[in-house]
């Protein structure tokens, strides 16, 4: 019985993952971040599968999608970003023991301190949307890294687009 149950869960999880990724790799190029999950290799090789518990931070990161992307020098949420954040909010509502830090980032095409402020703006834009979707504000904190922590290191728009991001990092409590 137990074995059967686990197998069924695995199947469902993979299906959901594929579906979510299909959406995330749509227009806007938002998929780059999700690629970190390794679920969508171009040649289908090297995929490692494991059953992600739906209440795990890994599920949140790889299946829900932990990040939203922004246009140059903007902190406005695109419809796609709003959809991702709505799904994040749903997960956070369903998993009330988790808190989250929303990290705001900028690409390297800006001065350091301005980018810190811009990253804070982006983090708050995402945070405010999560709150509007019913996540208690006391469970959310924001931090900006400005241009200090790029995820993609080329000096081209393909990388910059991935770096202009707000990433929701969930954890069990703030751990002061």
């Amino acid at each position: 019985m137990n074995h059967l149950g686990k197998a069924a869960l695995l199947t469902v999880t993979l299906a959901l993952g594929a579906c979510a990724n299909a959406n995330r790799f749509g227009p806007g190029g938002a998929g780059a971040g999700a690629g970190a999950g390794g679920l969508n290799g171009m040649n289908g090789g090297g995929i490692s599968t494991s059953a992600l518990a739906p209440d795990s931070p890994a599920y949140f990161k790889e299946t829900i999608g932990d990040r939203v992307l922004f246009a140059v020098d903007q902190s406005t949420l695109t419809p796609q970003a709003q959809a991702t954040l709505a799904a994040q909010a749903g997960w956070l509502r369903s998993n009330p023991s988790y808190t989250a830090i929303v990290e705001g980032h900028a690409d390297e095409q800006g001065t350091r301190e301005y980018n810190l402020a811009l990253g804070e703006r982006r983090a708050n834009s995402a945070r405010d949307y999560l709150v509007s979707q019913g996540v208690p504000s006391g469970r959310l904190r924001t931090v900006s890294y400005g241009k200090e922590r790029p995820i993609a290191v080329c000096s081209e728009e393909s990388c910059y687009a991935q770096n202009r991001r707000a990433v929701t990092v969930v954890a069990a409590g703030f751990g002061s």
Partner: protein, 447 residues
């Protein structure tokens, strides 16, 4: 020779002026006095002769050579001077007290002659004397000067000699005896490690102030050069810290913990701090006076950051995107109506008021390129000094004539380095650092 007049200072270095031992001569008729006007865009560096300083005691030979070399490097590094090779000399200087035969130096077209002597005392102290001569006017330029200090301060002694020479010939204040605080970088671009460090203006004597365990950004010296303000991620969140260079003790600036605080700068009083607080997606400028609470200086719903005080402390220049893009504004130090001063194409950030009060240096971003530029404090006479993929964060030399900044190369292997440039845009050169470096901030001239 009359006895030296000694002026004892509180620091390890002792400076003294001594009356010239040489008979004063009338200036040669029809010869312009030796003078470089820095703002006039000098094309031809002034040739000078600098014979290795005479060792006056046993054991002073090595100090004499090292000190002479640093004096030469300082002067040549400005791009304003050219050292004539000693092999070209028709005569050499073997005694500091011998009178100068100007004809011997005119022959090799030395416009200036610098002579000096070094003695090493049994107490471990070094004493350096020097004189500067205007060869074609056939007179000594200023009084002879003497500096004394411990052996470990030998480079500072050399910088002080070079500062005096530079100052007498240009009429500007010196800047060689100064330090630079910066961020030493290592590691890959997506996991860069950053440490605070200080060095002499020329890259020597590096001292690390923090370890690489958390990100540190944008340090600034206190007006007395003894403390540093910076933004650090020690707690995981950006906060402002003050660090004592002597003890390395760090103290957080007491601001509300939930708010992100960054971009701190000292007011000229060395006690008041202006900085940015970001809360709820809005970054504004605040001021904290000694023992006080943060006072809010701006209230716009836009980003206000990168402040810099005018040298008299009455005004602040800062950047804001209240118009839609980053631009520069000037407001009274206590807040109030801000006047926009940047109106050219592109975005303007990181304004820094010149220590002379006459200009503002900035970073400009336009058409995918970054520039370091300067403008008058009312925004007029904008001049771009540099251009590259990423030039950022100018800082002024203590005399307001040279700017240091960071330049970062593009791509996944991109690295940042420190560069300096004259305010005329000439003499762009890389500052020697062990590894990658960013966010330089120049100290005042050391006492």
């Amino acid at each position: 020779m009359r006895p030296f007049r000694l002026l004892t200072l509180a620091l390890p270095l002792i400076a003294a002026a001594f009356a010239t031992a040489l008979p004063a001569r009338a200036q040669q008729e029809g010869v312009e006095p030796l003078r470089i006007i820095i703002t006039e865009g000098v094309i031809e560096p002034l040739p000078f002769a600098l014979p290795t300083f005479v060792a006056e005691t046993g054991g002073a030979q090595e100090w004499a050579q090292r000190i002479t070399q640093v004096v030469a490097d300082d002067l040549v590094g400005t791009g304003l001077f050219r050292r004539i090779p000693q092999e070209a000399f028709v005569t050499n200087v073997t005694s500091f007290t011998d009178s100068v035969t100007y004809a011997n130096w005119k022959t090799i077209n030395a416009q200036a002659l610098i002579t000096g002597a070094v003695s090493a005392g049994p107490d471990g102290r070094i004493t350096v004397k020097f004189r500067l001569f205007d060869v074609f006017a056939e007179n000594q330029l200023g009084e002879g000067l003497q500096f004394a200090g411990t052996q470990s301060s030998w480079r500072r002694i050399a910088h002080k000699v070079a500062d005096a020479v530079y100052s007498r010939i240009t009429g500007e204040g010196g800047y060689f005896d100064s330090r630079v605080v910066f961020v030493a970088e290592s590691g890959p671009k997506d996991a860069r490690q950053k440490r605070l460090a200080v060095m002499d203006y020329d890259g020597a004597n590096v001292q690390y102030l923090t370890d690489a365990s958390s990100i540190v950004l944008a340090p600034r010296f206190s007006p007395d050069g003894g403390r540093i303000l910076y933004t650090g991620y020690e707690t995981g969140f950006p906060k402002i810290y003050e660090l004592d260079i002597g003890t390395l003790a760090r103290t957080p600036l007491p601001v509300p913990t939930e708010a992100m605080s960054f971009a701190p700068r000292y007011a000229p009083d060395g006690r008041t701090v202006i900085f940015s607080l970001a809360q709820g997606g809005n970054t504004d400028l605040y001021r904290m006076r000694p023992g006080g609470q943060p006072e809010r200086l701006t209230t716009a719903p836009s980003i206000e950051t990168a402040p810099s005080y005018s040298p008299d402390g009455s005004q602040v220049v800062f950047e804001s995107d209240r118009s839609g893009t980053q631009q520069l504004y000037v407001m009274p130090a206590g807040g109030g109506e801000a006047r926009r001063i940047s109106f050219g194409e592109g975005r303007y950030g990181t304004p820094v008021w010149s220590p002379r009060g006459d200009m503002i240096a900035f970073t400009k971003q336009n058409k995918g390129r970054f520039h370091i530029g300067v403008m008058r404090t009312d925004g007029s006479e904008e001049r771009l000094l540099t251009a590259s993929f990423l030039d950022e964060g100018p800082t002024w030399a203590p005399n307001g004539r040279v700017i240091m900044f960071m330049r970062e190369s593009a791509g996944s292997a991109g690295e940042s380095a420190l560069y300096s440039v004259d305010i005329s845009g000439r003499n762009l050169r890389r500052v020697s650092t062990e590894g990658a470096a960013s966010d330089p901030a120049w100290s005042p001239l050391l006492p």
